[in-house]
Amino acid sequence: MRSYVIYVGKRVLQFALVVFVGISITFLITHLTPIDPVEHAVAQVSTFGFSSPESIELLRQSLRELYGVGDNLWEEYLVFWQRLATLDFGPSLSAFPTPVSELIGRAIPWTIGLLTVSTILSWFIGNIIGGLAGYYSRNRVLRIIGMIMMGLHPVPYYIVAFVLLIAFTFVLPILPSSGGYEMNMTPGWTLKFIGSVLLHSILPSFSLILVGVGSWFMGMRALVSNIVTDDYVTYASLAGVPERRLVTSYVMRNAFLPQITGLAMSIGAIFNGAVITEQVFGYPGIGRLLVEAVHAADYSLVLGITSIAIIAVSAAVFIIDIIYPLIDPRVQVTQ
């Protein structure tokens, strides 16, 4: 027990360190951007409309004061950490004065909804078929499914998404091409609204699953085919354990453990957003928000999103690390 406490303590330190370094690096890079949010706002105003040089100069000065940019980098860095403690990222510079947390809060439910569901679905599908394919390695149908999955896996995601989009909105237009739900609907827990959300999520989630199952499939197949040759499986088989029980309790169960680690990592990673999915299918979410923020040099928003992503992934790693010794007795906490 004592060694476990020390182990957890070490992990906590590691977690804190990784978060600190990761966020600091992003802070530095975002502030190196050559784009000045004030100039961006000035250009936005003057591209259309007035352009009298004196007025532009005055506008620039007042925006600089308003946004509070151009201060000492070190001070900004300290203020940033102070604010982060309360999950306040300050006002967005490209949607001033709306708080960054409000913008993220509005986009993130979509990201979590779409990506959690498609990550978990691809995990289940990939692992179950992969497990079966590993066990019944001579089954022809499973081999063909395996070939298809492995063939699809390496195709760049953009291409898969784009082909699906063209196929189901243009060639055979049966699915909506963009948005999270139908126009003029008011969000709420109504059947109509939920139905609309589901309909709009078919293409994005299908594309993610199509590309996602491959790696789970291959990982699981490899794990299972290793376990199948392990002695205890052979003994159980000779001892007359029914095949169904053999597959589920003896083989799959053991193979699932490392895959759970992978699942936790993937769930942590969903806070990166799915930039391409959102881009291609016009789906709401934080990936798109991030790209727009980068374009507008809105570093408060960029930092807000990346900080959340870094914390989420590190937290996932951390949680796996501390839970693992409890569920898998083979892991020794001393290492």
């Binding site: 890079i29 975002t30 050559p34 390496p154 953009y158 291409i159 990166n272 790209v291 999103i305 990346t306």
Partner: protein, 286 residues
């Protein structure tokens, strides 16, 4: 070496297919040196001609012959993937070996750095770097950046292999027989680690090429250097899909997919080759 290759080719169908695909791909890439056109010049041939005897893969809306464009694109894309994989393999090998072998404080520091790289969201970082570097972000610089970001997972893998090797019997034997540390690592341990390096090499190439396609499609790369992603970028600029110029997407997609499958088959066949159990299984059944 040749014997290994013959073995693989004979007993491993995946290797044979993967190898042949890569030979074709490399052949096409090599053809770029005989191209009659400069890759970035446009409006040289008729526009929008479908595949025919004259233009095997058709021409695009920029008046370029897609076959010759593709030769350059494949060459650049492969070179890109190769450079990323090469540099990131060197990094992960060095860091994994040192970390796993030396252990202690060095290991902890290196693995902290390593874990930081694992959690930093890659895509936003690349986009940000594109903005910071702007036109200095040539495809070579992009390759360096991606190599700098693509080593962390595999370094961890190599480290864990090293840790298990270090505790094995034969290491102790070598130590007692007076072999020096660098010699033990290079002569005794490296043979176990190198296959991992090779198989992750292919995976890493797949990863970096896929990311390059994504970035190019979004316009975050140097579009003047023809790559597979760059070809799709230009096709999008001309709305090729809705104007029916399907061959402008089809051939780049086909060949990048083939490249991926080829690399992938090579990687899994290598994996099987280095795993003795499945190797025995295979030979016993053939």
């Amino acid at each position: 070496m040749i014997a290994v290759f013959r073995d693989l080719f004979r007993y491993n169908g995946e290797f044979a297919i993967g190898f042949m695909i890569m030979v074709i791909i490399l052949g096409i890439a090599a053809a770029s040196f005989f191209s009659p056109y400069e890759p970035i010049d446009s409006y040289l041939v008729a526009m929008d001609a479908p595949p025919s005897a004259e233009y095997v893969f058709g021409t695009n809306s920029r008046g370029q012959d897609i076959f010759w464009q593709l030769t350059f694109a494949i060459r650049n894309t492969l070179a890109f993937g190769f450079i990323v994989a090469l540099i990131s393999r060197i990094l992960s090998l060095a860091i994994g070996l040192v970390s796993g072998y030396v252990g202690g404080a060095v290991d902890r520091v290196l693995m902290s750095i390593n874990d930081t790289f694992i959690v930093i969201p890659l895509f936003p970082l690349l986009v940000l770097l594109y903005f910071v570097l702007r036109d200095d972000m040539t495809w070579f610089v992009l390759a360096l950046v991606m190599a700098g970001l693509g080593w962390a997972y595999d370094a961890r893998l190599i480290r864990s292999v090293m840790i298990s090797l270090r505790t094995r019997e034969f290491t102790n034997t070598s130590v007692f027989s007076g072999m020096s540390m660098p010699r033990i690592v290079t002569q005794e341990h490296l043979p176990y680690v190198l296959p991992i390096v090779f198989s992750t090499f292919m995976n890493n190439m797949n990863w970096s090429i896929g990311l390059e396609v994504t970035l190019a499609v979004l316009g975050f790369t140097d579009v003047d250097t023809p790559t597979i992603g760059g070809m799709i970028f230009w096709a999008n600029q001309h709305s090729a899909m809705v104007s029916g110029i399907w061959w402008w997407y089809f051939f780049p997609t086909l060949f990048v997919t083939l490249t991926f499958i080829g690399l992938f088959l090579l990687s899994i066949s290598m994996n099987e080759y280095i795993d003795p159990r499945s190797r025995l299984d295979r030979m016993g059944n053939s």
